[in-house]
């Protein structure tokens, strides 16, 4: 444990003691559900059920329920997929990359961020399956399983197959990482609980005994997993971007995509973390743990990644012009001035212009402004994927096939379904799991020499 200089701002405010930490976090798990939580869950489950109508209709009738057509084979489905995967980047970045960089401020937010990651990846992973024409087969045919169909094997050339590996690896590593982090905290709750709750949390905590040896192993595992997860943060969205980058479609066939997608993913992930954290800290009264300092730091990450994304947008234009390829040039002119210009300019406004407001300290330390901008960024990032996917496809090489995409109720419904699923899972997590990593946070309570022992 390093000692933090007293000159630095404390990471946990309010003079919290170790006991306070345990109490503040466990209280949510142990107490009765609040009215706000119940209402929230009702809305989330309601959305889930409403969306499931669209999902069932799609599975029953076919992909024709969506607005896709002969020219535009992917639209909201893959837009949502990439968007959710992008959101799922923040958790691992915060917990793994920042762990390796010894950024202690991450400790208060990594738990929730990781949970968000996992739920976002679940939502994301739904789309590659349900967007298939025959998901009942595709769900397992896309895996390299030994089979009796003859010598049928998957096509290792296909970026979609790489996706399967990338997403599943990312999901499993994130899940393990998250769960290992939860074990000491479950043990804490177990130790405070009685009856059935004790049994359940006892089971969840895998018999954690808090011994020094156990802690040592815990730390090692966390470091190893962080080491494993760090390349994944870069690889997942890199591979997702290969879906487009390896294709021949103008606007997709772009070597800048991997870094651009990763930056965009972190950008949107942090925005989503902010959206959720700002609500959670308010509802669960965790202002002392998730401080303005956290928000400001995350906003700085948003400025950086937002600017990277902005530069990427401009670079794409430059390269399209510089390439001399007419179809490529048209694809980009069409993005900015064609029938989907509104989507492009929404994206530009939300992703490039709005984060620049965070250069003002007043704005980046304002909770209201941050909350609003975090939503704006996520809208912008959704449009980014929509712009890349739909505007590139809708007018590619042969003008005879140019078409427009109009979403249907089912498109909207399936998207709603993922929102319902995400928030349902997140609310259940928030209620039944410790939303802040108590064990880790305690280490920063200790190391900041500001505290006053009561």
């Amino acid at each position: 444990m390093q000692v933090t200089s007293s000159v630095r701002e404390p990471l946990i405010t309010g003079g919290k003691t170790l006991k306070d930490v345990t109490h503040d976090v466990s209280r949510q798990v142990e107490g009765k559900p609040t009215l706000g939580w119940i209402l929230g869950l009702l809305v989330a489950v309601g959305t889930l059920l409403l969306g499931s109508l669209a999902l069932v209709a799609t599975l029953w009738e076919g992909i024709g329920m969506w607005g896709l057509n002969k020219t535009i084979g992917w639209a909201w489905d893959i837009t949502n997929f990439v968007w959710w995967v992008g959101i799922g980047h923040a958790g691992t970045l915060i917990s793994a990359v920042l762990l390796l960089f010894r950024q202690k401020w991450r400790m208060a937010i990594n738990r929730a961020a990781e949970a968000m990651t996992i739920f976002a990846v679940i939502c994301a992973a739904m789309f590659p399956i349900i967007h298939m024409g025959r998901p009942w087969l595709g769900a397992y045919w896309a895996l390299p399983l030994p089979n009796t169909f003859g010598s049928l094997w998957v096509n290792f050339n296909s970026p979609l197959l790489w996706d399967v590996f990338a997403i599943s690896t990312y999901f499993s590593v994130s899940l393990v990482f998250w769960y290992i982090g939860l074990i000491p905290d479950f043990a804490t709750i177990r130790d405070r609980a009685t009856g059935l709750r004790r049994t359940i949390y006892g089971a969840l905590s895998f018999g954690w005994d808090g011994a020094a040896k156990t802690w040592s192993r815990y730390e090692s595992v966390a470091l190893i997993l962080a080491g494993l997860a760090t390349p994944l943060v870069l690889s997942v969205h890199t591979i997702v971007s290969f879906d487009f980058a390896t294709s021949v479609i103008p606007g997709w066939h772009t070597t800048i995509f991997p870094p651009y997608f990763v930056a965009g993913a972190i950008f949107s992930g942090f925005a989503m973390v902010l959206t959720l954290m700002i609500i959670t800290r308010k509802v669960f009264k965790l202002e002392d743990y998730i401080t303005i300092g956290h928000i400001e730091l995350m906003n700085i990450v948003i400025i950086i990644t937002g600017s990277i994304v902005g530069i990427a947008y401009i670079t794409e234009f430059f390269i399209a012009w510089y390439s001399g390829v007419a179809a490529e040039q048209y694809a980009f002119m069409n993005r900015a001035f064609g029938p989907y210009a509104w989507a492009y300019w929404s994206m530009m406004t939300c992703n490039v212009i709005s984060p620049q407001l965070f250069w003002f300290k007043k704005i980046r330390t304002s909770i209201v402004a941050t909350f609003a901008l975090s939503i704006v960024v996520n809208i912008g990032m959704w449009f980014e994927r929509f712009v890349i996917i739909v505007t590139s496809l809708h007018r590619d090489y042969l003008p005879s096939s140019w078409a427009m995409f109009y979403p249907t109720l089912s498109d909207i419904g399936v998207y709603l379904f993922t929102f319902g699923l995400f928030f349902t899972l997140f609310l259940l997590f928030a209620k039944f799991f410790p939303v802040i990593n108590m064990a880790e946070v305690k280490s920063i309570v200790k190391s900041s020499s500001e505290k006053v022992n009561k």
Binding site: G62, G64, I72, M132, G133, L152, N155, S247
Partner: protein, 1027 residues
């Protein structure tokens, strides 16, 4: 039955009264009688055994296997081998629309119609309507038997009533469309004779009365001439859509294409001028097209006459002066190509046609390109007599009327009047096969067979004969109409015998090859066609044309300011007879690319003036008023439409065609006028168009009209430039690599395929492709391509495996993206058939996660439907956008049963090609280059222990093409046509073939997907200064 006292024993035991037997004789299952445990009944073991058995039996019975009715032949028919198709020569004829065909049958079901190569008229070419006609056979809307007053009856009753009633009806009239069958004419004559010389009235929905009438005036005999477009170096057409819908379009397209094919060795092609109001298929192929108002068309013809007469030194006629671009130029070139030029007009005005005859006479084309000595019989309709008939009918002067397979209540200008008059006849009979607009009004309907169930003969042209034979036994209780006529006239011979007798007496004698009639008959039937050669001679003109000229000067105006309606025919729907055929309804119109509708075509100027902008098929409805009639129709902005005119297609607005066609579009026949004594397809007075605020969507398969100046898609040039440089118009991308610029194909990540056996490919000549769309329907039939209906076309989900991209030119400069989207006022048009390009570096193959689309060892990109999981990644990554996804289950699905008849209806399914899978929901499909045909051809060759010969395998699209624009073949075969066409000199097994033909190019060459489909630059015969 007599009581008998015989005793039957169950076995020898009963006979011998074996005690063991007697003991258990009364038990039902003596075998299961107790064993061992005495008389206590069944033992526990037996009980368990029985229980076990019952349980197993019950469970087995529960999982009942579906019954698949595959019953082998007990006695195999001689000609039918399961899975081996049989081919029969036959003839398609609907009115005067004619094609000699070969019908493919599988297990006794006709499933495909191809052109008959032996035919001197249409050759192996067909049209969309001919291709699609096989589905009409399996149409459930066909009448299943005779009907009396709308009630199902039997033939005997109908026959006796018709016979007795007609005999006492008084004046009997027979109404028919053109009959080109001599034996049918004989049967009709017999019938007419039996009923007191009943008058036979012939009319045609798409009338060419003007030409036949003019021929009578000019040469003394009412007939159509035989045209020779292939012999014409200069073709001038005034509104005649001879490539699409005019008289005998397959034949004309074939001839026309001969004059349009160019090679470096023979860089000559015909020049084609078109003067028309609507943009027709023919106009879109013209080198010079001038939009003119219908009210000027007669004056334009007269002006051309005067220009040529001046050169010839003949007398000219005064007429209002009209300023028509290119007319003077056309006159000069016609004169320069005297004897090798052709002027035609689509006008139904006899006066105009008289002048056309005079022009061709002046140009010495008579007897060369226009041959009245070899008359064609495609149209025999007489508008005047038909008009008179309607008047007679309504005046009660007609006692009995018989409609022979015609539907004048729908497709005659005075249809409504005629419909009202039918009830005034004492007896009314129709032989129509469906309860259509006319048949539903008559008392007796004696439904005729479908043509694929019938015997018949045809004489479409002097000296040209063909036969049709049944390819399936009648599906319903129908009877060939000729048999009905013979029966009613009291003749008991069957029509088959009658037909043979007729041939024996009239045709047999014209040949000397055989003296055995049976041999002659069998050979004619086998070939499908029979010709008598004759020499062409110029017919001598009868008189001067001053009467016609002055009539034209009076009837036509140079400065009509009112809106004019020009009614036209669409290639798919034609005159509306086959409107209930979903393949035709969903066929994308070659020009407008619209399906499932007719619409008012308006010029871009009109649209701008009225503030109408079409986007993705979204438009507004307009109120079209013609005289005292008005209809509400959607508006389609049509570049090339002459300002001041609007166009509307015939064949729509059917009310009793059946499930598919009812209520689609509006009926334009009722807007036609008969006031000049002929059916005038142009209404120049009393027309007004008023845009309403009602929104509407027209289902177009292509909504973007121009090719955006993309020379990597369409490469075109003009003849003078081609003569200078055979690479004219070619875009040859070069990519920088290690100090030099190389062809894109020289840089690749891939090692490249090697094809040790065959390397299939297509070569498509955009100069020959006229855009008629016969290939698209042929593909649909061959490959069981689903019909998805209007809403799904609106959703941009039509399933066509081959489409014809139609691009208009734009006046904007390259780089002006917005400007390029707008087509020119009078655009140049290019057609580009587009199907799977079977790329050797296929972008679809690399991206499929489950390897459902792979490359064959013969260069085909093949789709494994069973393996497809439907990610659509391949479709997205296809630069040609030719992959189609099964968004829904299109077969056996109620939602699509109304439109996708061939895959939903038990009868409709009989048309499916058993060699091609009907695709399931959720899989991608696309052109397979007719792999089933390739496999079958290879198998035949293998069985015969030889190599595949060039030409024995052909794709459906290439087979159907009337202009031979598509050449299919093996690029590894040094002797194949495709190798010669592409000039593949190098003898290589590599996928990358070095092609030496200058015009050949790959669409999107710079992407280096290396397709196996080559396109040839489009060359227009324009002068350099004007291109």
């Amino acid at each position: 039955m007599k009581e008998n006292n015989k005793t039957y024993w169950k076995g020898i035991e009963q006979l011998t009264n074996d005690p063991e037997f007697v003991k258990n004789a009364d038990k039902e299952f003596p075998e299961f009688a107790s064993s061992g445990s005495g008389e206590e009944g069944p033992s526990r073991r037996d009980f368990l055994k029985l229980m076990g058995f019952s349980l197993a039996a019950a469970s087995l019975a529960a999982c009942e296997a579906p019954v698949r009715k595959a019953i082998p032949y007990v006695n195999k028919p001689v000609d039918i081998n399961p899975s081996i198709p049989n081919y029969y020569a036959s003839t398609f004829a609907s009115g005067g629309d004619y094609a000699s065909i070969v019908v493919k049958t599988r297990e006794g079901r006709p499933i495909k119609v191809d052109g008959n190569e032996l035919s001197s008229i249409n050759g192996k070419g067909v049209s969309a309507i001919v291709e699609a006609s096989v589905l009409s056979l399996y149409d459930k809307q066909r009448l299943a038997g005779p009907h009396i007053n709308g009630e199902r009856a039997d033939w005997a009753k109908l026959d006796s009533e018709v016979k007795s009633k007609l005999a006492s009806a008084g004046a009997v009239k027979i109404v028919t469309n053109t009959v080109i069958s001599p034996s049918t004419e004989a049967a009709l004559a017999k019938f007419a004779e039996a009923f007191g010389g009943a008058e036979i009235i012939t009319y045609d929905p798409i009338s060419n009365y003007g030409i036949t009438k003019a021929a009578e005036v000019s040469y003394g005999a009412a007939a159509l001439p035989t045209y020779q477009f292939d012999k014409a170096k200069v073709i001038v057409s005034f509104g005649a859509d001879f490539l699409g819908t005019w008289i005998s379009p397959i034949e004309f397209a074939k001839q026309y294409a001969k004059g349009r094919k160019i090679t470096k060795e023979k860089p000559e092609m015909s020049r084609h001028y078109q003067f028309e109001s609507n943009l027709s298929l023919t106009g879109s192929n013209a080198d010079y097209r001038t939009p003119i108002k219908a009210s000027q068309s007669g004056l334009a013809v007269l002006a051309l006459y005067n220009a040529i007469a001046k050169k010839a030194g003949s007398s000219t006629y005064t007429a209002p002066a009209v300023e028509i671009a290119n007319l003077e130029k056309a006159a000069n070139e016609l004169w320069a190509s005297r004897g090798a030029s052709l002027v035609v007009s689509g006008s139904n005005d006899p006066n105009v046609q008289v002048v056309i005859n005079a022009i061709n006479d002046l140009l010495s084309n008579n007897g060369v390109t226009v041959d009245y000595s070899k008359p064609s019989y495609f149209r025999k309709g007489d508008d005047a007599r038909m008009n008179q008939f309607v008047a007679d009918l309504n005046a009660g002067r007609v006692g009995g009327v018989v409609f022979y397979n015609c539907n004048p209540a729908y497709d005659f200008a005075k249809g409504a009047e005629l419909a009202a008059g039918i009830a005034k006849a004492k007896v009314s009979v129709a032989t129509n096969g469906t309860m259509d607009e006319t048949a539903s009004l008559v008392q007796y309907v004696a439904p005729d067979h479908h043509y694929l169930e019938s015997w018949n003969d045809f004489n479409p042209r002097k000296g040209e004969y063909s036969l049709s034979q049944p390819t399936i036994s009648p599906l319903f209780d129908t009877r060939q109409a000729q048999d009905s006529f013979l029966t009613w006239s009291g003749d008991t011979t069957s029509y088959y015998d009658f037909l043979q007798e007729n041939w024996r007496s009239s045709v047999f004698g014209t040949q000397s090859e055989t003296s055995n009639f049976q041999e002659f008959w069998d050979r004619s039937l086998f070939n499908g066609v029979y010709s008598i050669a004759s020499e062409s001679v110029a017919s001598s003109a009868l008189g001067d044309i001053s009467a016609a000229a002055s009539a034209i000067a009076k009837a036509y105006k140079a400065d009509n300011t009112g809106t004019e309606l020009v009614v036209y025919t669409k290639i798919g729907i034609g005159n509306g007879t086959f409107a209930n055929n979903p393949w035709l309804q969903e066929m994308s119109d070659p020009i407008s690319k619209a399906t499932w509708d007719n619409y008012l075509t308006v010029s871009q100027k009109w649209a701008n003036d009225n503030g109408l902008k079409m986007f993705e098929g979204a438009t507004q409805k307009a109120k079209l008023t013609v005289g005292d009639k008005s209809v509400i129709v959607p508006v389609l902005v049509q570049p090339g439409q002459a300002n001041g005119t609007v166009g509307l297609a015939l064949g729509y607005g059917r009310t009793k065609a059946g499930r598919v066609a009812n209520g689609v579009g509006v009926n334009a026949y009722e807007l036609l006028s008969l006031k000049d004594g002929f059916v005038n397809f142009a209404v120049t007075e009393g027309v007004s168009v008023e845009l309403t605020s009602d929104k509407y969507k027209i289902a177009q398969t292509q909504t973007h009209q121009t090719y955006m100046g993309r020379d990597f898609v369409v490469q075109e040039s003009i003849l003078p430039k081609y003569k200078e440089d055979a690479f004219a118009g070619r875009y040859q991308p070069k990519i920088y690599k290690e100090g030099e610029f190389v062809k894109p194909s020289k840089i690749s990540l891939w090692k490249g395929h090697q094809y040790s056996q065959h390397h299939w490919g297509l070569a498509i000549d955009m100069n020959s492709c006229i855009g008629c769309g016969a290939c698209t329907v042929a593909c649909q039939v061959e490959n069981n391509v689903a019909v998805v209906g209007k809403q799904e076309v609106l959703n941009r989900r039509e399933m066509a495996w081959i489409r014809i991209d139609r691009y208009y030119s734009s006046d904007a400069e390259v780089g002006d993206n917005d400007g390029l989207e707008v087509a020119a006022e009078n655009p140049e048009v290019v057609f580009q058939p587009m199907m799977c390009q079977h790329c050797n570096n296929a972008p679809c193959e690399t991206v499929c996660p489950v390897a459902a689309t792979t490359h064959s060892s013969e260069g085909l990109n093949q789709m494994t439907y069973n393996r497809c999981i439907g990610t659509r990644y391949c479709a997205n990554n296809c630069p040609y956008k030719v992959r189609r996804f099964n968004w829904f289950k299109y077969h056996d699905n109620k939602s699509f049963s109304a439109v996708n008849v061939a895959q939903n209806d038990d009868l409709g399914k009989m048309v499916l090609n058993p060699d091609v899978t009907v695709r399931a929901r959720g899989v991608i499909e696309k052109c397979s280059m007719c792999v089933q045909r390739i496999q079958s051809g290879k198998l035949t060759a293998k069985r015969e222990n030889r190599k595949v010969q060039d030409g024995e395998i052909n794709t459906a699209c290439a087979t159907a093409c009337p202009t031979d624009a598509i050449v299919f073949g093996d690029m590894n075969d040094p002797n194949s046509k495709i190798t010669a066409t592409l000039k593949i000199q190098e003898d290589t097994l590599s996928a990358t073939k070095e092609v030496n033909e200058e015009r050949a190019y790959h669409v999107l060459e710079e992407v280096n997907v290396n397709p196996n489909v080559w396109y040839f630059t489009k060359i227009r015969n324009k002068d350099k200064s004007e291109a």
